[in-house]
């Protein structure tokens, strides 16, 4: 099932995101390096998510499609909402301000949990 492949790759995506963010928290890398790494993954993640959602739609797995749809929409919303002067979704000047680091971590954890849920649903179908 190609679906498995997608879910697995998005898992890897997210884990690397979480690891990079926690590196930043512990000062192993600096803000600019961290943000450029993370920004590189934003578009592939978005595209991967949308593709897998489309696949669900096409193969008529309605329940799984409904599960994935909000995540895809949220990714697109996050990408579009970046203010003009910012250097991508992860901006090195903002990442340490206003608890953004924590909120990004939380977001990644939630997505990871979500994907795990989907993974188990595929497994038992």
């Amino acid at each position: 099932k190609p679906v498995f492949g997608f879910v697995f790759s998005s898992h890897l995506c997210l884990s690397s995101l979480i690891i990079t963010l926690s590196d930043l928290e512990c000062d192993y890398i600096n803000a600019r390096a961290c943000c450029s790494k993370l920004n590189k993954w934003v578009i592939p993640e978005m595209i991967g998510q949308c593709l897998s959602t489309m696949l669900m739609l096409v193969s008529m797995h309605w329940f799984i499609f409904l599960l994935n749809f909000p995540v895809a929409v949220w990714n697109i919303y996050r990408y579009v909402k970046v203010p003009m002067g910012n250097m991508g979704v992860f901006d090195p000047t903002e990442i340490h301000n206003r608890g953004q680091l924590k909120s990004h971590m939380k977001e990644s954890m939630i997505k990871l949990g979500y994907h795990l849920l989907c993974f188990f649903i595929y497994l038992y179908r």
Binding site: L24, E25, D27, N30, A31, R32, P83, M84, G85, N86, M87, P92, T93, I95, H96, N97, R98, G99, L101
Partner: protein
């Protein structure tokens, strides 16, 4: 404990009165104030000017802080010009082993050999060298050493604190020479000012300078010692900027001084007939970055229009019809990330970029200011600058330049703010780059920039009765010496809501809220930010009402320490940065926002809520004696038009301008002795100086005015105005309609009562 600084809280508050400027908690401050009845409200003070906290009694838990509905934060001015600064010359810098806090007056010595850190509570050993006190030449009394007796000290940093040998002072001036720039005429005044102050530029024999001019091409100047005259090198490929010559463009000031002087004398006339109207600012900045990368230093950019060519070009985004809109103001954020990226690159190479914007049209300051915001630079704005048509701006430019060129500077600096275990800092305000969770990267530090931080209480502070904060600024002085300036603040921890209110610092709270509102207006819109400010007042009133439940009176009741809070918030809402409904140019609004983020607290308070003094009844009572001069200290008056009377002369200190208003029935003695005129009618329509007359009254007034000017970084113009004389009308209108001199008290009460009644 063998030696504890403050065995009980009352001793702490008494001692803090001297050490960190927190006034003793008086019973008076616990009394609630009903704003409908009390009319005579004066600001509290005096406070520390270096390090202030919004709540001088820290609540023990986050729940208590939330109940109080007040923000918790620090406002600091770490590199402020100080009259006395103890410099520690010893080789060992004693620091806590876990949290790396510097030893400070608020640690506890368990016995002669061990000390307990006041931030992480770890017990450390006292090194042998520390036992000897060089000041008193005695042994065995570590608690008498200067590091433990002063809350602000400066250490001389050893080579452990250097990533590279300390850099020399390097200054690069990037000058716009397009047609627009020549029209405005700033170049001549800049060159004159720099020529005058060339010897006063902070630095030693290693100091270097360079010049770069640009219009649609970039011009470099070879000032190598030995040349007969400065040589200009033009680079016209602005899409791939390269440096034509590596060693001769940034030259040693001492060696090439004659050439530099020649260049400055020749520059204004070199471009006098230019027809170039384009401005390639982005490429010029890229060139500047390349020039400065090896050493770091300061870049001063002078720009007079929108950059129209090359990388970082900007469009005109402002819609003049939207200037008085009451809806959200558009385009408060940058249009491109070019300047932000450039600033981050510069910050990484220890280059600070300062911007002087002297434009008459919209120049997208919100994008341009980014170059200074993240490289710890400063922004100066002169709207409608013209050397002939706008003499006021010209004078301001000259004064500001003089201060800018001669003030102290620190290079390749980092700052760390540490707090007691349980407190954590989550947001930073000011021109800086947050490199990691608590390390702030400041490519340049200057004595006129301040910062603010917001904190939250992660864990309960039940372990200790004191909360301490330490700001450590590691920098390279202009003479190439590595120094660490350490400020420590210690505040009591309280468990009662009433004590939290009694210790609230209303001015610090207002400024922190201003910073937060500006961030909010950029991210979610101006009306949102304004509502949030009003809600801050409403929430406080509501919280106080529920907490002090024995109040049954009607009216607007506030804790005594916060009595001026509604007035300050109202004044804040009328500032250019946050006002709606009045025509405000976008650049001016953005600059006002930048000012709020970087100006020190006393200056911001004067901008928002000017000081009012009466001059004709000035006396020697309570005067200061400084250097054989008697400086009178007239009483601060309640800021209301009720206090103005026609038989007096009043001074309104607005921070950036001073108004002396002469009443129509002012005494002839005063007019003659101070202003040098026979009667009221012969006062000239525009008078900008108090004449130097030989009368005691004139001496006192001038001493007082000079003292006011010295207490601020940039001296401000003075205007003497009187009643309804046509040429001065615009000043009179400004004075009388300034947001403050109205029946402000009544305004506040009705404004807030309606919102309070509406919301509660």
């Amino acid at each position: 404990m063998w030696w504890q600084p403050f065995p009980n809280l009352s001793q702490l508050s008494a001692a803090l009165g001297g050490l960190s400027g927190v006034p003793e908690l008086e019973v008076e401050t616990l009394r609630p104030v009903n704003l409908v009845q009390e009319r005579n409200l004066l600001p509290p003070g005096p406070w520390s000017r270096t390090f202030r906290c919004t709540l001088t009694s820290i609540p023990q838990t986050q729940a208590l802080l939330n109940k109080a509905r007040l923000p918790l934060g620090l406002l600091l001015h770490p590199f402020r010009d100080l009259q006395q600064l103890p410099v520690i010359t010893s080789n060992t810098i004693v620091r806590c082993r876990t949290c790396r806090t510097y030893i400070n007056p608020f640690v506890t010595f368990l016995d002669q050999r061990r000390w307990k850190c006041n931030l992480c509570y770890r017990v450390n050993d006292v090194p042998d060298e520390f036992m000897y006190n060089p000041v008193t030449r005695s042994y065995g009394e570590p608690h008498r050493r200067p590091e433990v007796q002063n809350s602000t000290v400066e250490f001389i940093a050893s080579s452990d604190y250097m990533l590279r040998p300390p850099q020399p002072a390097v200054y690069l001036f990037v000058l716009d020479v397009s047609h627009n720039a020549v029209e405005s005429g700033y170049l001549k005044y800049f060159c004159d000012s720099l020529l005058e102050n060339l010897d006063k530029l902070p630095g030693n024999g290693r100091c270097r300078v360079g010049f770069l001019t640009f219009d649609s091409t970039i011009h470099f100047y070879n000032l190598q010692n030995g040349l007969s005259q400065p040589q200009m090198l033009v680079v016209s490929d602005i899409h791939d900027v390269f440096i034509p010559s590596h060693d001769n463009l940034m030259v040693n000031l001492k060696e090439s001084k004659e050439l530099v002087k020649e260049l400055l004398a020749a520059l204004p006339s070199m471009f006098a007939h230019t027809r170039e109207s384009q401005s390639a600012l982005g490429p010029a900045l890229q060139a500047a970055f390349k020039l400065m990368t090896p050493t770091g230093g300061r870049v001063s950019v002078f720009q007079t229009q929108l950059p129209t060519l090359g990388a970082g070009l900007l469009q005109s985004r402002e819609d003049p019809n939207q200037r008085s809109s009451t809806k959200a103001v558009q385009h408060l954020g940058p249009a491109t990330d070019f300047y932000k990226k450039l600033a981050l690159d510069c910050s990484g190479q220890q280059i600070g970029v300062d911007l002087f914007l002297l434009s008459s049209q919209y120049s997208d300051l919100s994008s341009l200011a980014c170059m200074s915001k993240f490289s710890a630079g400063s922004v100066f704005y002169y709207p409608s600058f013209h050397h002939v048509h706008n003499p006021a701006q010209l004078e301001k430019f000259q004064r500001d330049l003089e201060r800018y060129l001669t003030r102290k500077i620190g290079f390749e600096a980092v700052m760390r703010i540490r707090c007691t275990k349980g407190l954590s800092i989550h947001t930073f305000h000011g021109n800086l780059f947050v490199r990691s969770t608590d390390m702030l990267s400041l490519a340049n530090v200057n004595p006129d920039s301040a910062f603010a931080v917001q904190m939250s209480i992660e864990d309960s502070l039940a372990d200790s009765s004191l909360a301490c904060f330490q700001a450590a600024l590691l920098y390279t002085s202009s003479k190439g010496k590595r120094r660490i300036r350490v400020h420590t603040l210690c505040l009591p921890v309280v468990t009662q809501l009433s004590e939290v209110y009694a210790g609230a610092d209303v001015q610090a709270i207002t400024c922190l809220l201003a910073n937060m509102a500006i961030d909010r207006s950029v991210s979610s819109g101006l009306p949102d930010a304004r509502d949030a400010l009003v809600n801050a007042v409403v929430d406080l009133v509501g919280a106080y009402r529920t907490s002090v439940s024995n109040l049954q009176q009607n009216g607007l009741v506030l804790p005594s320490a916060m009595r001026l809070f509604p007035l300050y918030i109202l004044a804040l809402l009328k500032q250019k940065a946050l006002r709606t409904g009045t025509s405000t140019r976008l650049d001016e609004r953005v600059f006002a926002m930048c000012q709020f983020k970087t100006e020190p607290l006393p200056q911001l308070m004067r901008l928002m809520h000017p000081d009012l003094y009466r001059l004709d009844t000035i006396s020697d009572q309570g005067a200061l004696h400084l250097n054989d001069v008697i400086v009178p200290q007239p009483q601060l008056l309640h800021l209301s038009s009720e206090r103005l009377s026609r038989d007096g002369t009043f001074l309104l200190d607005c921070g950036s301008v001073l108004f002396v208003w002469v009443g129509r029935a002012c005494s002839d003695v005063f007019l003659r002795d101070v202003l040098g005129v026979h009667d009221y009618a012969s006062l000239p329509p525009s008078m900008n100086h108090i004449p130097e007359l030989d009368t005691p009254l004139s001496e006192r007034i001038r001493a007082f005015l000079d003292w006011l000017q010295e207490n601020r970084a940039f001296s401000c113009p003075l205007h003497v105005i009187r009643y309804f004389r046509l040429p001065t009308t615009h000043y009179v209108i400004r004075f009388l309609s300034s947001p403050y001199i109205k029946q402000t008290n009544k305004n506040i009460v009705s404004f807030n009562q309606s919102s309070v009644v509406h919301r509660l």
